[in-house]
Structures are given as structure tokens and as C-alpha cells.
Symmetry: C2
Subunit: 246 residues, 2 copies
């Protein structure tokens, strides 16, 4: 019998932020596969499972191997931080699925960093919003620039994933400059969260012009408010609409 692939969104990492479905999918799998760092987070929860890990940039190999395991009759939980369908393994798995049509694939939704980070900051995306990654590994920078501009044109709240890495230390600064030159006010309310859902969570609110000079890393999620967003105490709050509430 052919096995099944569960694409499991594990949320920020802590078990308390996983859904019951996510835990059940891992429990009912023979193999838990994923990026080494995330598999290490669940090893203690499911010590009796087999594990298959690949390092970063070997994601496609990880997906293909999961199909091979399923073909051998094993159920595989392919785990992703946050949600598998937001910059995760869902689309590469479905693209490979054409070669393994006999395998059942099922996405188990999880709490992505836009949602878990927003909870820490207050209510930054309580109205229409965009999610944009600054990683230009798979996307040309010109496309990212175009999206940042469009997001300001539409007056969306903006969530930025992958704001920085060793090779891209100045990308958040570049992104802030694009948003400012697209018409966003220097005083636009912003914030960011580091290590969401872990012991060392760090949240900070500031203006867009200050954000430019903040030091962020690959574990930071950045939030830019829309033109109506405001700071209430240490919280970043975007009102639900443009009209005065009841």
C-alpha cells in the first residue's frame, strides 16, 4: 500500500502553538522529515519516530525523498516552520506530485509568522495586508521592489519575511528606502519580532525612518503599519477600517 505525505505547519516551534491536527499527523506518520533545525524541535516529542533531515537549499531533494518513502508504503510528515503553504514546501511538493500521482498529499495548516508575530505586537494586520519576502534567492530584486511599491500604493499593512541574512545585511534598509520614496510617511508606525514563540522573544516598535537602522536577522519578522496604524503603549495597532467604529 502507498503511504501518504502530510505537509505539516508546526507554527513557531513550541508544541502549545501547534494544532491538534498537526500533532496527530506527526503521530500517525512513520517518518518525520524536514530541515534539520525544525526536526530537532520535535525529536523530543516523538522519540520513537524515524527522522529524515536535509540542510537548507536541499529542499527539493527532501520533497522527492518524501515521495520515495510514501511509495514504499510509509506515511511521511514533512514539517515546515509556520505554515507549509507560506514560503514553505507545499508548492514544490505539488509540483513533484505530477511524477508520483499515486501518493496522497495533504496540507495541515499552521500558524505562520505573520499571525504569530502580529499577536506579539498587538494588532498590526487587523485590516488588509500584504506578505512580502526580501529573499532574492528565487525572486529577482526588481520584482520585490515592485511589490513593496505596490503595497504602499494600496496602503496595505505589510509583513516582511526574511528581512536580512549574512549576505543581505542591508536589505531591510533598502526596502525602507523604497517604501519611503513610494510615499510612506517617515513616522509610519512599525514593529518587529524576533524568535517568535520561543523563550527569547523580543518585540520592538518604532517609526519607519527608525526601522531603517534597526538590526534584524533571519529570525525576525517585520511589520509596517498602514497610514492609519498607531502605537498604543508598546503595541502596534491597525484599525479595522477607515470609518469611525460604532
Amino acid at each position: 500500500m502507498v503511504g501518504k505525505i502530510f505537509l505539516v505547519g508546526m507554527g513557531p516551534g513550541d508544541k502549545s502553538m501547534m494544532t491538534g491536527q498537526a500533532i496527530e499527523a506527526m503521530e500517525s506518520s512513520d517518518i518525520i522529515a524536514g530541515y534539520t533545525v525544525y526536526v530537532d524541535l520535535v525529536k523530543d516529542l516523538f522519540p520513537e519516530k524515524d527522522f529524515f533531515t536535509t540542510p537548507m537549499k536541499q529542499e527539493i531533494e527532501r520533497c522527492r525523498k518524501s515521495f520515495e518513502f510514501a511509495r514504499e508504503g510509509k506515511n511521511v510528515a514533512l514539517i515546515c516552520s509556520g505554515d507549509a503553504g507560506v514560503y514553505g514546501m507545499a508548492s514544490p511538493v505539488y509540483e513533484l506530485w505530477e511524477e508520483y500521482p499515486e501518493v496522497d498529499v495533504c496540507v495541515i495548516p499552521g500558524v505562520t509568522a505573520a499571525i504569530s508575530g502580529a499577536a506579539v505586537l498587538g494588532a498590526p494586520i487587523n485590516h488588509d495586508f500584504c506578505v512580502i519576502s526580501l529573499s532574492d534567492l528565487l525572486t529577482p530584486w526588481e520584482q520585490i521592489e515592485k511589490r513593496l511599491k505596490a503595497a504602499i500604493d494600496g496602503d496595505f499593512s505589510i509583513v516582511i519575511y526574511n528581512p536580512s541574512s549574512k549576505k543581505r545585511a542591508d536589505y531591510l534598509k533598502k526596502a525602507c528606502d523604497i517604501m519611503l520614496s513610494s510615499g510612506a510617511d517617515e513616522k509610519r508606525a512599525c514593529g518587529y519580532v524576533e524568535n517568535i514563540g520561543r523563550e527569547c522573544t523580543r518585540a520592538h516598535v518604532c517609526t519607519l525612518s527608525d526601522l531603517k537602522n534597526e538590526s534584524v536577522n533571519m529570525f525576525t519578522t517585520v511589520f509596517i503599519g498602514n497610514s492609519r496604524s498607531k502605537l498604543i503603549g508598546d503595541k502596534l495597532v491597525t484599525p479595522r477600517g477607515y470609518r469611525i467604529n460604532e
Copy 2:
């Protein structure tokens, strides 16, 4: 002693799609407050709790009453479908918080319909995306129109909340016309999901020009792919990037 308000995102409704934190917050509360329909979904899970419900359009009264309960020393779980920070009660609660600064407020993130609906459809938002509500109750239609146009200009995948209601039966059609006239191809891959996470979940994929004539309701979440999205079998898949994968 003053009580606490937990803004609980309960996901699509089924217990298996709630996080452990969300269940714990309801368990540790004296009162579960919310919109009647959602409170009914959790009454069976927590039969020993007190419940406080208000109908739709009395959200602000519900938030204020939660602060009053907290001031009396009660812990309150104010529950929202999906996530409290996405078109939910997080921002009105933080706005009222200025009047009740002694009350602790805490957002417990949940799986919003953009994430749970995407899981049903495959991988529609696996790259940069926007979330837009078509409800013009609190937002002027001109602003919604501007955002739809900006979302197409930036070539985002788009998730549409509140695509229709009795009074706004033709809003999805109007939105499709705006996206088409903003340069989106008629053949753009789209899909929608109705009653996510319940027994009667219904998913459908189609082109943007067909979407115009589909019948949707207030329990439907609509997904518009970006220019690279495609249908693979009955799944809507947006590739992770613009470059060819490894």
C-alpha cells in the same frame, strides 16, 4: 484582583484546528465571550463556563463588556473565528484598552482562513500575497478598488475575505472586473473554498473570467493566483519563486 483578556483565534471552528494555547486560554477563563455563532461552536467543549454573546455589529459592546468583566476580576476568553488579529477583535480591544490600562490583554494566534483555505486548495499563497476584504461596512469601496488594483500591479497572489453578502451579491464580480481591467489575464488560475474545516467543505478551482460568475457567500474564501500560478489536477499552486527551482 483584575482579570485578563485573552483574544483567542479559534481557527475554522473544529477543535482539531485550534492550538493548545487557544484551548488552554479558554480553559483558564471564567467567561467565554464572542459572536453567538462561534460561541455555540465551543459550548460543548467547555460546558462549565459562563458565556457572553452579542450578535453581529455589536462587536464594540462585546469588547467593552469583556473589559468590565476583567475589571471585576474575571478572566475572559474573547473568541474570534480564524485569528483575532485578522479582521478580528484585536484592534478594537487595544483601542479600548486606553480606558482600562490595568487590564492585561493577550492575543492567542489562530489559523486564519487565508491559511486554512490555502491548505484545502493546495498551495495558492506559497509566494508573496495580499489579503483583502470586500466588505465596505468600515472601508469605502474606492479604497478596496485601489487595493485590488495595487495587488495586481505587484503581481501578488490575492486572498479575498467577505466576497459577498445578501446586500453585496455582486461584489466578487465587481472585484474580478477591476482585476481584469488592471491587467490580470482572463486565464489567471483561481479557486475558492466554502465552509473551511467543517463537514461540508467545498473547494473549486477555475479561471479568473469564470470566477466572475461563480456564486459565493459570506462563508467563502476566494484565492486569485499570481501570473505564475497554475492548476495541477484540482489543486491551485503558486511556485515559490520566479527562478527555476534547484
